[in-house]
Structures are given as structure tokens and as C-alpha cells.
């Protein structure tokens, strides 16, 4: 049984970057904006967090830098799509390509640098008693923060007035505009929030999960996060469940290798991507549910004059 607890601890750790990135994208999409640049924002967040941690020796400064970098990159997206009415799909792709290039460029001198990463909580004494107590107390602070973020978003979107306004903007920007809500400004904030979360997810990878910097280290997690939002049919709790499910799948390769299952490492490395495709197909098959739950204006530009 201790093995199960051990596995759950690892699953939570592996799923956390997806939780951050997918929850952020969820809020962005709830406001009707499709930002395909998650991968780029995560990478830029990761490299910023790593570089600042390596320089200041304080991982918390690194986390802050990651959040700021992700948000900064998302502003580029927001200006292009919300002010200049550029195509959201093309701009999102551009953001991902740019983020890959930028992070590789910035991180070049840091590839073999070793940093003191963000340690697990100071409740270590409690956590050390058994595998099960580790499950409750032994996580990285950012894992707890991601859970707090989940509850905050769930409450914000469905229990507060601003949350209602965001959802209204996503469903019908025209109506929201007509009754006087600043649609473009609300969308800016939603995009910014999504960028900050993606940056935080990247920062978690670079300073907490595997404290190191490797070019392209997010390995497609930004894209998986985008898929997760669809799987979850735009519901926060299903995002959370999906993120841990995929965290578990990424662990499968290490577990299989440790367990002596003779399978080439490449086949195991493919698993998360194949799983994403399969689950995406199964969930999307139900066109009615997707159409009912997707924000109605998702991906469509809005110009107040039109």
C-alpha cells in the first residue's frame, strides 16, 4: 500500500505543471480567447525562473520571474489579437514558435548550471513518518499552491460576479458590450492571467520538479494542457483530474523501467502523446457536449465597432 501512496505523491508532482497551464488557459478560453501559445509561455517562464534562481540563489524570486515572463509574453498575444484583430490561431502558433526560440537563446549559458531548487515543505518531519503522511504533507509548496489556485478559480468563475462577467464575455461579447462591459479589457486580463499561469507552470518545472534547464524542456506539456481544457469540457475540476491522469501517464515510463518491463524507452516516451490523441478523440466524439460547453465566441475576434 505504501507503494500506492508513493505513486500518488509522484503523480501529483508530475501533474502540477499541467494543472497550472491548463487552469490558466481555461480562464483565457472562458473569456472567448484561444491562446495556442501555452507551450511558448511555459518555456519562457521556465527559462526566466531558472536564470533568476541561478543568479539570485532564491527560487522564490525565480518563480516570480517565471510568472512575470509568461504574463509578458501573453501581452504580445493580447495586443496582436485583441487590439490589432490578428487571427488567434496564427498568433498563438507564432507565440509558441517565438517562445521556443527565445527560451533557447536566453538559456544557452545555463544548460549545465546547477541550482538549489525549491524544496518540499518544512513539514518534512511530519511527512517522514510514513508514505501516507508524505502524501498529505510532503509536497512542494507549488503543488499546494496549484490546489489553492484550483479552488480559487472554481469559486471565482462560478460564485462571483466578475467570474460571471468573464463567462458572459466568452459566450457573447456583443451582448456583454451592449450592456456596458469593457469586453476588450476583460479579455486582456483573462489572457494575462493565462500567461501568468503558464509561466508559473514552466517555473515549477525548472526550479521545483527537475531543477535544471534543458532546451525545450516542457516537451509538449503546453499542448497537452490545451488538449486538457477540451477534455475537461471547460470545467475546472475535470481539468484537475485530467492533469493528474496525464501526470500519471508520464510516470508510467519510469515505473515500467523500474519494474523491469522490457520495452524500448522511446515507446514509453510516446505514451503521453498517444494517450492525449486517444482521449481527445473519445471526448470530442460527442459533438453536442463540446458545443454546449465550449465558450460560444471561442477564437472569434471582437471589434467594438462591428
Amino acid at each position: 500500500m505504501d507503494h500506492v501512496a508513493e505513486l500518488l505523491v509522484l503523480t501529483l508532482a508530475a501533474g502540477t505543471p499541467l494543472v497550472y497551464a491548463a487552469l490558466g488557459e481555461l480562464v483565457t478560453e472562458k473569456a472567448g480567447v484561444l491562446n495556442l501559445g501555452v507551450e511558448g509561455m511555459m518555456l519562457v517562464g521556465a527559462v526566466a525562473a531558472f536564470v533568476v534562481t541561478a543568479t539570485t540563489k532564491n527560487p522564490w524570486f525565480g518563480v516570480g520571474a517565471g510568472i512575470a515572463a509568461g504574463a509578458a509574453l501573453s501581452i504580445v498575444f493580447a495586443v496582436l489579437t485583441l487590439t490589432l484583430m490578428a487571427n488567434q490561431v496564427a498568433t498563438g502558433l507564432a507565440l509558441s514558435l517565438f517562445g521556443v526560440g527565445l527560451s533557447a537563446f536566453v538559456g544557452l549559458d545555463y544548460v549545465s548550471v546547477v541550482i538549489e531548487g525549491l524544496q518540499s515543505t518544512s513539514l518534512a518531519a511530519l511527512a517522514a513518518t510514513s508514505a501516507w503522511s508524505k502524501l498529505a504533507f510532503g509536497h512542494n509548496p507549488l503543488v499546494y499552491l496549484s490546489l489553492a489556485l484550483f479552488f480559487a478559480i472554481q469559486w471565482f468563475l462560478y460564485r462571483t460576479r466578475p467570474g460571471l462577467v468573464i463567462r458572459a464575455v466568452g459566450e457573447s461579447p456583443q451582448s456583454a458590450h451592449a450592456i456596458g462591459y469593457p469586453v476588450v479589457r476583460i479579455r486582456y486580463l483573462a489572457v494575462l492571467f493565462g500567461g501568468a499561469c503558464a509561466g508559473l507552470g514552466g517555473a515549477y518545472l525548472a526550479v521545483a520538479y527537475t531543477p535544471l534547464w534543458v532546451e525545450g524542456m516542457t516537451a509538449g506539456r503546453g499542448w497537452i494542457a490545451l488538449a486538457l481544457v477540451v477534455f475537461a469540457t471547460w470545467k475546472p475540476w475535470r481539468v484537475l483530474a485530467g492533469a493528474y491522469l496525464f501526470g500519471g501517464v508520464t510516470l508510467a515510463q519510469f515505473q515500467a523501467q523500474a519494474g523491469g518491463i522490457a520495452m524500448p524507452s522511446q515507446v514509453l516516451s510516446m505514451l503521453p502523446y498517444i494517450a492525449t490523441i486517444v482521449v481527445l478523440a473519445i471526448i470530442s466524439r460527442d459533438v453536442a457536449t463540446i458545443r454546449l460547453n465550449a465558450p460560444a465566441s471561442l477564437g472569434r475576434p471582437f471589434h467594438p465597432d462591428a
Binding site: 495556442l36 490578428a86 517565438f98 526560440g101 509538449g220 488538449a227 492525449t276 470530442s284 471589434h303
Partner: protein, 366 residues
């Protein structure tokens, strides 16, 4: 409501401006140069010298020009195939994976008939690569038409799967037994290599394939009925639906064309400059081709020029690495910046700037 902070605002044009559409890539290229100028200065390099190393030095020699065309070929192939889909709002972003699959299929054939000197081997490899790319693109097409799965995400996920498949093959069954355990296949036989076009350079017949793809792409997009239908489907989905244009057919054709072209590009690489299978057969051509397609206005002729520009960025990155001790990652940075500026200046296709005169507040409330 907020008053406009700036005395200008965007006003929708009555109809899209064609002129703005063609000028916008030039604006974007100029703006990217300005950013490059600033970036080089910030990095403590003399910007004029850096520009020389980046954009002039690589093409000063015949060999350099040949390299320019050599690198432009896979970009052209991938971009022209992608553009056919993008015109119909079919977003295939997995050309990198389809290219890799093409390399696996074509390269696999070259390894299977290693001793062959048959003149049919090379054409067969191209057909195999084309098929491989199409098969890989058929997966997102099928999942989209049958299960409504988003083709952007599926095609992108398949890039990773294709890369791991290639890695698996060159680490395992296809590894060269005399290769000192390096993850690489045997060098292809002479019958499996594309013939050279210009002596003393690496330019090969793959460039002609790319030009042919551009020409065929032009005929398909501007002269054929299916090409026209796909354009309608992209511009006005509701009208296309009403006119009886099948959206399934649009998705299938858009994806398959992209896969076919990318697959040929994969054969181009392994039967050309590489000459064997390696764990990685492309420095991101399939992704750069997305930028090429947009900068080229999704038009074959535009793609021809855009791929040369993008190829120059690749060469410039290599040259900067040697001549300026700058990382070649600078290339990716320039590619992304170029696309950003393009998307930004594209706003003038559908909108124009209007100076807003400040009127008395009373009049403004009307």
C-alpha cells in the same frame, strides 16, 4: 465606456485591401531588421558588421547560394502543402512529424535495397516518403472528420510520436552494425541519393521537386475547382456549406496535401544533404514552414520568396555562430519576430487608421 486614449483608432475597411496584403510582409521584414539591429547592439556587436555576417556573408559564394537553395527546398515543400490546408482553415501544424515519417518511409526503402543501383529506387523512395507523410497526416484528418478531434492538437502530438519512432529505429533495428554504436543508419547507396545539380556544391535535384510543388500548388490553388472550393470553405464556411462543398473532403484534402509535401521534403533531406537516417533529420523545417506559409501569404509565389528569406535566416544563424560567437538560437528568435510583425501589420488589410478629432464631451455621448 473608456474614451480613446490615443487620437487614432482602427476603422474597418469596406473591403480588404489587396495592396496592404502584399506590402505587409515587407513591413514585417523591415521591422524584424530593426529589432535585429537593436538586439545586436545590445549584445555588444557592431550591428552593421553583424548584418553583414548574418545576411550577406552566407551568400557571397556560389557554395553559399547553393546552400540557400538547398535549405529553401524543404521549406517550400512543407509550406506549399500547409498553405493549401490553411486556406481552407485546416490547421495542420504537424508538418515536422509528417516530414519525419516521410524520411522513415523513404529511408527505410533505401536501407532495404541498399545494394540496388536501379534507376527506380529514388522515385520509389519519393513515392514512399510521400505515402508516409500522407499516412501520418491521415490520422488527424480521420480523427477530425470521424471524431471531431481538433486537428491542431492531434497533428502536433504526432510530431513527438514520429520523432520517437525514428529514434527507436536508428537506435535499434536500423542501426549501422559498423557504426561504432552511434545511433545512425548505414550511409545510403549511390542509387538512393539525389543527383547533384551544381558541381562543388550540395545543391541537389530535390530543389527541382520543390519548384515543381510550387508550380503544382499554384495550379491547384488558383486554377482547379477543388482549390476554389477549399478557398470558399476557408473564407465563408457557411456559404461553402450551402453550396454543397463537403467540409470532410476539405479537411481530408487539406491534411493529405500537407502530409504528402512534407513527406517528400523528408526524403529530400535524407536522400540529399544527410545521406542516412539520424535521430533527427530536420532542424525544425516543418515548424518554420508555418511561418513561411504565412509570410508568403498562403500563395505559392509568395512562399517561394518567403522560403528563401527563411533559409537565409537559417544560414545567417550558422554564420553568426561562427563569425560572431552568437548562438544559432538567434534564428528561432528572428523567425518568431518576423511572424509577429507580419500578423501585426496584417491589421491594415482589413482596417485603416483614422485620426479621431476630440469633440466636446457632450457631442461624444451621442
Amino acid at each position: 465606456m473608456a474614451r480613446p486614449v490615443f487620437p487614432v483608432r482602427l476603422e474597418a475597411r469596406p473591403e480588404p485591401s489587396r495592396a496592404a496584403g502584399w506590402v505587409s510582409p515587407l513591413i514585417a521584414a523591415a521591422a524584424t531588421l530593426v529589432v535585429g539591429f537593436v538586439l545586436f547592439s545590445l549584445l555588444g556587436k557592431n550591428p552593421w558588421q553583424a548584418f553583414h555576417v548574418f545576411f550577406v556573408k552566407p551568400v557571397e559564394t556560389l557554395y553559399g547560394v547553393a546552400e540557400l537553395l538547398l535549405k529553401a527546398a524543404p521549406l517550400m515543400l512543407c509550406a506549399v502543402g500547409l498553405a493549401a490546408g490553411y486556406r481552407a482553415n485546416v490547421w495542420n501544424i504537424g508538418a515536422e512529424g509528417q516530414l519525419t515519417m516521410g524520411a522513415i518511409f523513404g529511408g527505410g526503402l533505401a536501407l532495404a535495397f541498399h545494394e540496388s543501383t536501379s534507376p527506380f529506387l529514388l522515385p520509389a523512395m519519393i513515392v514512399a516518403g510521400c505515402t508516409g507523410g500522407m499516412l501520418w497526416a491521415a490520422i488527424p484528418a480521420f480523427l477530425r472528420t470521424r471524431f471531431n478531434a481538433n486537428e491542431i492538437l492531434v497533428s502536433l502530438m504526432l510530431v513527438y510520436v514520429a520523432t520517437y519512432t525514428l529514434s527507436l529505429l536508428v537506435h535499434g533495428p536500423w542501426r549501422d552494425p559498423e557504426g561504432f554504436n552511434f545511433p545512425q543508419s548505414k550511409m545510403f547507396g549511390d542509387g538512393a541519393l539525389l543527383p547533384n545539380l551544381v558541381a562543388e556544391t550540395r545543391l541537389n535535384a530535390g530543389f527541382l521537386l520543390a519548384l515543381a510543388a510550387i508550380a503544382l500548388g499554384w495550379v491547384f490553388m488558383t486554377k482547379s475547382l477543388v482549390g476554389f472550393q477549399m478557398r470558399v470553405a476557408g473564407l465563408a464556411p457557411a456559404a461553402a456549406n450551402y453550396a454543397g462543398i463537403s467540409s470532410r473532403k476539405t479537411v481530408w484534402i487539406g491534411m493529405l496535401l500537407g502530409g504528402a509535401c512534407a513527406g517528400v521534403a523528408g526524403v529530400d533531406e535524407v536522400a540529399g544533404p544527410i545521406g542516412q537516417l539520424l535521430p533527427s533529420v530536420s532542424p525544425g523545417y516543418g515548424f518554420a514552414a508555418i511561418i513561411v506559409a504565412f509570410v508568403g501569404r498562403l500563395h505559392p509565389l509568395g512562399i517561394l520568396f518567403a522560403s528563401l528569406l527563411m533559409s537565409l535566416l537559417y544560414l545567417g544563424g550558422e554564420s553568426a555562430q561562427m563569425g560572431l560567437a552568437l548562438p544559432s538560437a538567434v534564428t528561432g528568435l528572428f523567425q518568431g519576430t518576423l511572424l509577429f510583425f507580419l500578423l501585426a501589420s496584417d491589421v491594415f488589410i482589413n482596417y485603416r487608421l483614422r485620426v479621431v478629432r476630440r469633440r466636446p464631451v457632450a457631442a461624444q455621448t451621442a
